[in-house]
């Protein structure tokens, strides 16, 4: 079905301008996200340097296996997202739907594994503000580690969840035939966002899980 919806917004002169504006706008937004996560990464870095021993010890309580699996999972989702963008570019609507759905499902798997990890950590009383008890000889700085761990992975998971919401909307719009090789900017910029969320995880994973992995 070849629908021809009016996809050029009236403030733009032509489709090229609209596409460039949308893409550039997403890049600017991603830079703000870098600054947002940056504050967390900075705090983490400072405390890790100050309390290297405590942080190394605390990180041993994280599940490296699940963390590694999650990393692979997220990289796969970036791959399927790229395939979705390519499908949109080449006008293959069925594949576009398939890859958008797959990306969402893989994202769901990531969140599921994260949920399992957090459940373990709750059981082990490692959640600050929630009956935090830390076994072992390090006292307060371990609490800092876990505060930052939950905050950083939590904010990341929130961004992933929002990304899945965006993909859901795009899935519906694709189903309704809104995108074509001439107009698929929303898919492309959603792809940018998704890759960004993936890259943030690629920094979180070694910083949090791999401090003392050869302990």
């Amino acid at each position: 079905m070849a629908a021809v919806p009016r996809t050029l917004a009236e403030q733009f002169e032509d489709a090229e301008q609209q596409r460039e504006a949308g893409s550039f706008g997403m890049w600017v937004f991603l830079i703000t996200e870098i600054m947002f996560f940056g504050g967390l990464f900075l705090s983490y870095t400072i405390y890790r340097i100050t309390y290297a021993g405590a942080f190394a010890d605390a990180s041993l309580h994280l599940d490296v296996t699940l963390g590694t699996v999650n990393t692979v999972v997220l990289i796969c989702s970036s791959f399927t997202m790229t395939l979705a963008v390519h499908s949109a570019q080449t006008g293959r609507q069925r594949l576009l739907l398939l890859f958008l759905l797959t990306t969402m499902l893989i994202g769901l798997v990531f969140l599921g594994i994260k949920f399992v990890e957090w459940s373990h950590e709750i059981e082990e009383n490692l959640v600050p503000g929630h009956g935090f008890i830390y076994p072992g000889s390090y006292t307060q700085p371990a609490k800092l580690f876990f505060s930052l761990y939950f905050l950083m992975t939590g904010v990341h998971a929130l961004h992933l969840f929002i990304g899945m919401g965006v993909l859901a909307v795009l899935l519906v719009q694709s189903w309704l035939g809104r995108f074509s090789p001439q107009y698929h900017t929303p898919i492309e910029i959603a792809g940018l966002y998704w890759h960004f969320v993936d890259i943030v995880w690629l920094f979180l994973y070694p910083l949090l899980y791999l401090i003392d992995v050869y302990h």
Binding site: G53, A54, S137, Y138, Q140, P141
Partner: protein, 354 residues
Amino acid sequence: MSSHFQLFPERASTVAGHVDALFAFLTGVSVFFTLLIFGLIIFFAVKYRRRSPDEVGTPTTSVALETAWTVIPFGIMLVMFVWGASLYFTLYRVPAGAMEIQVVGKQWMWKFQHLGGQREINELHVPTGRAVKLVMASQDVIHSFYVPAFRVKADVIPGTYRTIWFEATRPGTYHLFCAEYCGLQHAGMIGRVVVMEPQQYQAWLDGSSAAGGAETSPVAAGHKLFLDLGCHTCHRLDQQGIGPMLTNLFGKEIQLQNGQTVMADEDYIRESIVDPLAKVAAGFQPLMPSFQDRVDEEQLMQLITYIKSLGTQQAQAVTALPPQGGAKASGLAEAWQGATTTMPAPPQRRETQP
């Protein structure tokens, strides 16, 4: 301090005049440029006022002028920077041999501990002609110790020590303010610095201390705490025990378990008491419990003063005295809860609400 109207603060320290000199330079430059800009605006606005409705201005530009008014102001600013920076180093580099007074700021009062044992609240007596250094700690939030007449100020931040110094030059009474907002009675966290000639200061010292000043000195109080808290069971004074020996420890480089070295200063000793596992000394087990909830900032200072004195004459004098319960304290010290056998309650934190 005068309670009459004034436009300029008094000078009562060696550094005040220097600060005022830089201030005068800054003021002079500012007045010059203010008058220049105001004057030029008025002059041009009048001279080039529109004389007919269709008149336009003549576009003008000059790279020479742009360069001039970039380079010249920057040059003047460099002078300000260098002058200000060198003054800053003078303000914050504590001279050797300065007389130490310990300060604890807490909501909402300043507590002063002279090493001879005198204690003051919201009032600090110092002599002229002698460099005085204040070793300061905060019991709770960030405070700031500020004496305008001395032109000195330093934030006192919980969890770490802050040292500033001054040398008073003029006898008199001067304002002391807390200069960092610290809650409800921030505006009430004020006091007086009483500067005296050396003879009067000595007379004040003699008059205000208890019979046998050594008993209420920080070293003595610290020694008592050291025993009462059981520190001496691991940090034995006679021979090596489970914990490192603390004699002659202060000021030395310490080797840590992870290979790093650290200077054994006030911050290090404080941290070792409240968070012992943060820096474990090489060759020792991480066994020491935290005393964070059992001592407040004043007591920490007393312990540190005692530990600093270990290996010196002062400590020997103190350890030789038989411990006496119910020591006769001066009126000033009564206002101070400290050297009793029961530990005072640890600092209370408020119940907060979102």
